[in-house]
Symmetry: C2
Subunit: 326 residues, 2 copies
Amino acid sequence: MSTKILILGGGGMVGQKLAHRLLDHGLNGTRDLQITLHDIGFPEDGAPVPDRRIGNLAEIGQVEALAAERPDVIFHLASIVSGEAETNFDLGWNVNMHPTWRFLEALRAEHEASESNYRPRLVFTSSIAVFGGPYPDKIGDEFLSAPQTSYGAQKAICETLISDFSRKGFIDGLSIRLPTICVRPGKANLAASSFFSGIIREPLNGQEAILPVPDTVRHWHASPRSAATFLTHAAGLREEQLQNRRALNLPGVSCTVAEQIEALREIAGNDVVKLIKPEPNEAIMKIVDGWPRDFAPERAKALGFEAETDFKEIIRVYMEDDLPRA
Amino acid sequence: MSTKILILGGGGMVGQKLAHRLLDHGLNGTRDLQITLHDIGFPEDGAPVPDRRIGNLAEIGQVEALAAERPDVIFHLASIVSGEAETNFDLGWNVNMHPTWRFLEALRAEHEASESNYRPRLVFTSSIAVFGGPYPDKIGDEFLSAPQTSYGAQKAICETLISDFSRKGFIDGLSIRLPTICVRPGKANLAASSFFSGIIREPLNGQEAILPVPDTVRHWHASPRSAATFLTHAAGLREEQLQNRRALNLPGVSCTVAEQIEALREIAGNDVVKLIKPEPNEAIMKIVDGWPRDFAPERAKALGFEAETDFKEIIRVYMEDDLPRA
């Protein structure tokens, strides 16, 4: 019997990377996959998954209908981005928190109605935005969650819900706290972190890029390719490996914006770097100031998660995977 | 103008201690208080507060009506206890989480409708049940929340909501993670921690008490008197003292059940101690096994919170405050 996979947020950048990876490589040794993508829209040249559902998870009935199909593995990537959740408080909670609650309740109802102990693996993309300063030099696996954005608060709450529904045996879920994904292909989005990709992507495509923060800003990154492998790796972990701690800090690359720019210079030259234009933006600086800078993700490494080892590698992944299509 | 105070859960043990304290001592120097208690019921010989409202926060409209009265200071103590939230999953979330969300939304609506920047101080009684093992020897102020009960998950989520609504400026809230309150007067309740009080209270009243766990169990306690002073102290903290970390671990006494019993023996003698009957209970042991044992609550101490210094003092507080009325 084929494995039923549901990707919420399957039209987004990471959802598409994941869909491509599943089509190309299968899921942890299984090639017989029945994939469903759900999102508010899909890119025209997106991953060739026939079963694409257009809908809004915030509408009553959507998550309930998806749960009723009893997917075996669910990747929950659907989210309003950080900048948007900060400016539109209602929208943030209505998209990033309440549908997750209703979805978990719907999955629990399926579990309780099932004769075969239905209990899907749910992989939730959380974020390092669950953290808030002051920080230690490196954030360890036991550091508190104290979000300083609504987006981070919504992610932290979903993590807690998923842990409790899993502990009770209704689902088998875990949350992975993605580093800031960089270099994102395509256009800038409303995430406050969008510029981290923009200052690499735009110059490599011969366009100017705005740098809204000082180049001393240090942050934590992984590539879109790593995001997809994080997700498939998470889907294959055995429950007993999680030991009642179902939210994981993932590996990544810690570097300053200056180091990002230097890596770009080494790879693409000075003329490309000259396309980066500093233009300080107080609103973005205020959000980014509260973000983590470095991690010691020992648990995730021990569980086999892997990311790039330096920022040049992150740029090269973009040049291999996305630049040819840009 | 008098200070309007609302106590949610005002009919419960801690709510009553708080009401008595406010009547006797005022609130941080203010004696002109207009106190409202809300709960599903009140003790017959309770604190003489005329404005007692009987109602269920889980019913739509209740929290909205209370918010519309625009209290200046709100103590939110209303909760289903841990044992009950564990056996009745729906009830736990419907009482311990959803009404808090709706209450915060209602307070935000009052804030936004107000011409005087209405923004109440909200003190939420959270719990050390937000933590989950494995633990360090002493839990520090930056240790992660990883609850292993639904009650703990609900408390952790309310903390996160209160922090975000406060950060956005809609309310001015904080959460205090109470130690297990001991010695509780009156009857045993459905909390899994109920026996910690029972093994002191019942023998002092000449009755047998069941000890459902091994006497090697170490746990973290403070008296009902301390609970009331924690609450009034929290109400008086200035917002800038909280530094974006609006959930506090409070001081308490760390001791084993054997040390509790020894303290009782020193104070009340061997015949009293003989009334404690070991009767292992797997369900309670399983819950208590996951609980914290000791803390280093540096932030709360620096902010002026104080508890008892040893368990004998906790017993003496019970004998002074509650034994005469038992």
